[in-house]
């Protein structure tokens, strides 16, 4: 069973990496939110893979938690995007820097 686990984890790592790069390099908030979804689901994939590999349901439960959090995050994130879009038509997160110290 060891080879399939390695494959799943490799897929998870690749997805996670794509997500990280997406969050860091893209300036469109919608793309960034989608990248964050990638991060969540990469983590979910890893959790579920290990849960199956070690026959331990804690991983599944964590995956459910992550899905809940992802839903909440998407709701709040899209609301913020909508608000900022109303303030200025340009959609660029670097413009939204009012908390600059």
């Amino acid at each position: 069973m060891s080879a399939p686990v390695d494959n799943y984890i490799a897929l998870s790592a690749v997805l996670f990496f794509i997500g990280v790069v997406g969050v860091i390099v893209r300036r469109n908030p919608l793309i960034m939110l989608m990248s964050i979804e990638l991060l969540f689901n990469a983590a979910n994939l890893a959790l579920v893979t290990y849960a199956r590999a070690w026959v331990n349901n804690a991983g599944h439960i964590f995956a459910f938690l992550v899905i809940t959090v992802a839903a909440a995050e998407a709701a709040i994130g899209l609301a913020i995007v909508a608000v900022t879009f109303r303030r200025s038509p340009r959609v660029d997160v670097d413009e939204v820097a009012t908390l600059k110290g």
Binding site: V20, R27, M32, D94, A97, L99, K100, G101
Partner: protein, 655 residues
């Protein structure tokens, strides 16, 4: 149980008078007196128990704190003598104060303090352990502070009170040091334990250090050179206070301390020599200063210092019975002298300068008789109490092998006679000089010479108010007179006297460094020498102050004498000036330097630097807050990478 009454009634009185003083009005005096009188009667009732074989009455343990730290009360032969004097003489002085303090605004407060003082003193002498002793010792100093500063409207009284307190605290530190060593080495605080174990627990040096610490305390409280300077200033307090505290009881606490720790001193001949020498120096230094004072209370203050020097010398050389006897006789005749001086001061409306007295023999005949008896007693005229006790101290000093101390003591006896008779003659003989212009008497600053009327005292004199009956003041003195004459007779008969039998071998025998040479002459010869010197002192006083032509030219003579007073003596050997230069001024200079340099450049600078550096830190962290979400994401990713790398390095090697 009766002993608790003796101990706690004065405290009850103090609390009562302090809480309800204004309501009690003139009842404060009688109540305060009763709170001392009842313990006196109770102590008399306890006499048989206290003198019973087996160490007397011992209430132990009253309270146990830690293992070996039990507090109790103890009434043995030594504390019996002290308790009787404190409550007995204290009672008389309380009664006297009802008359003396009559009309004072703070009448009840005065009695509250006096009761508190008696309580503190009883704590000191009744305690059966070193810690209780220290507590009493400190409380006595506090009570003394209250009473010296009783008229707190006067800056001089406040200063004197502070001085006394500070000096006493210097002594307290010495005692505390000794107690620390005792507790560390013996492990328990009861006298009985300490005396049983100190021989094995202490090395010779430690024993000497303990004795030295105890003696520092004793020197401060008993006004021994060089810690004596507070005593003359303490005369700022009301006269009954001077009588009770600075003559009869508190200042003799040092004598009690040494007598109580007799076994320790017995075992340490070095410490004994030190104490004897200091005692002798104090005796003669005080006596010489007594010769140049003009304030009647200061004369008595210096004589007190000198007499305590005798006591300390006595207990120092190992003549405990003699020293304690001198305490006993001195308590009576010095209380009497002070109270009589109080009558004189009261009659002259707070005049204390003997140059402005004179001729009071006809005006105050009772005071004259009382003062005469007191002077005869303190001078050691045969038949009066001082004769027996002083003789006992002096001859014991010689017999224990201290001829030099003996010589100093004998000379002091002559000087004592001189200045005491000088005071008597100046006050009561000749013509009244109160109406003479002060400058003719050489008094340059009457307001500085202790002659100014008291600020608080008799402030309501203008209003006609009822005067306390005169017997309240004369009565206690009349009671003291027979004691001043006869109490010394308990020593009559030497080895078989009631006094010697009372103490027996209570104090134990003193260890000596070598064989003591036999005294060169017998006690009779010694008495004769002392008497010759006393007579000489009297003769000089007579020549200068009582001879017909001396009386006639009293005013110009006093003027010359005032002007020609040696500066060394007038400034009391410059002790105060020395303390000023050696301690007060350096301390002030140090304080000034701290204010000028350390405070702005170290303390304030540190605070300023702390503020500046946190501001700078804020600036630094603010630069990370770019507001760029992607930068945050990058730093989070970097952080995660670091965590992952850490786990990979630490745990990854196993696979």
């Amino acid at each position: 149980m009766l002993l608790y009454l003796v101990w706690l009634l004065p405290l009850l009185g103090a609390v009562l008078l302090f809480a309800f003083g204004p309501q009690l009005k003139s009842w404060a005096g009688p109540i305060g007196s009763a709170m001392i009188g009842v313990p006196f009667a109770a102590t008399l009732a306890l006499w048989p128990e206290a003198t019973a074989p087996g160490g007397g009455l011992h209430l132990q343990p009253m309270v146990t704190w830690l293992n070996g730290w039990s507090f109790g009360l103890q009434l043995d032969r030594l504390s019996l003598i002290w308790t009787l004097v404190i409550t007995g003489v204290g009672f008389l002085i309380h009664v006297y104060s009802i008359g003396y303090m009559d009309g004072d605004r703070a009448f009840a407060r005065f009695f509250a303090y006096m009761n508190f003082f008696v309580y503190a003193m009883l704590t000191l002498v009744l305690s059966d352990n070193v810690v209780g002793l220290l507590v009493g010792w400190g409380l006595v100093g506090l009570a003394s502070y209250f009473l010296i500063g009783f008229w707190f409207e006067r800056p001089s009284a406040v200063g004197a009170a502070r001085k006394a307190f500070v000096m006493n605290v210097v002594g307290d530190v010495g005692i505390m040091f000794a107690i620390f060593v005792i507790v560390a080495k013996v492990g328990s605080i009861g006298y009985a334990d300490v005396f049983a174990k100190f021989g094995t627990a202490f090395t010779k040096e430690e024993l000497f250090l303990v004795c030295l610490g105890l003696f520092i305390g004793c020197a401060a409280k008993s006004a021994q050179v060089p810690l004596h300077t507070w005593l003359p200033d303490a005369m700022e307090g009301p006269t009954p206070v001077s009588a009770l505290i600075h003559a009869a009881t508190m200042v003799t606490a040092g004598v009690y301390l040494i007598a109580r720790f007799a076994p320790l001193w017995n075992a340490s001949p070095d410490a004994r020599s030190l104490v004897g020498v200091i005692g002798a120096i104090t005796a003669i230094a005080g006596a010489v200063l007594g010769c140049v004072q003009w304030d009647i209370k200061r004369i008595l203050a210096y004589s007190t210092m000198s007499q305590i020097g005798y006591m300390i010398m006595g207990v120092g050389v190992g003549a405990f019975e003699g020293g304690v006897l001198h305490f006993l006789t001195h308590a009576f005749f010095k209380a009497q002298l002070f109270l009589t001086a109080g009558i004189v001061i009261h009659a002259l409306h707070d005049e204390q300068d003997v140059r402005r007295m004179g001729g009071l023999r006809t005006r105050l005949p009772f005071a004259f008789i009382a003062m005469l008896v007191g002077v005869l007693a303190i001078s050691g005229v045969p038949g009066f109490s001082g004769f027996f006790s002083k003789d006992a101290v002096l001859y014991e000093t010689l017999a224990k092998g201290h001829p030099y101390l003996y010589a100093v003591g004998v000379i002091t006896a002559g000087i004592t006679a001189y200045y005491m008779f000088r005071m008597l003659f100046l006050t009561f003989l000749g013509r009244y000089r109160g109406d003479v212009d002060p400058s003719d008497l050489g008094i340059r600053h009457p307001e500085l010479a202790g002659t100014a009327p008291a600020a608080g005292h008799h402030a309501e004199e203008e209003e006609p108010h009822h005067h306390a009956p005169a017997w309240l003041m004369t009565g206690p003195v009349a009671v003291l007179i027979p004691f001043s004459i006869f109490i010394g007779w308990v020593q009559f008969g030497g080895e078989n006297s009631p006094w010697a039998r009372f103490f027996g071998d209570f104090f134990g025998a003193a260890a000596t460094t070598g064989p003591v040479p036999a005294p060169p002459f017998s006690e009779g010869v010694s008495t004769a020498i002392v008497l010759v010197l006393v007579l000489a002192g009297f003769a000089v006083a007579w020549l200068r102050y009582w001879k017909p032509d001396a009386l006639q030219n009293a005013v110009p003579r006093l003027r010359t004498e005032t002007v020609r007073t040696p500066a060394l003596l007038w400034n009391a050997y410059y002790f105060d000036a020395a303390y000023d230069y050696l301690l007060v001024r350096p301390a002030r200079a140090l304080g000034g330097a701290f204010v000028r340099y350390v405070d702005p450049h170290v303390i304030d600078a540190a605070v300023r630097e702390a503020a500046i550096s946190s501001q700078w830190l804020g600036h630094l962290f603010r630069s990370f807050q770019t507001g760029l979400v992607r930068a945050y994401a990058l730093s989070i990713a970097f952080g995660v990478l670091c965590v992952v790398a850490y786990y990979a390095v630490v745990f990854g090697g196993g696979r």
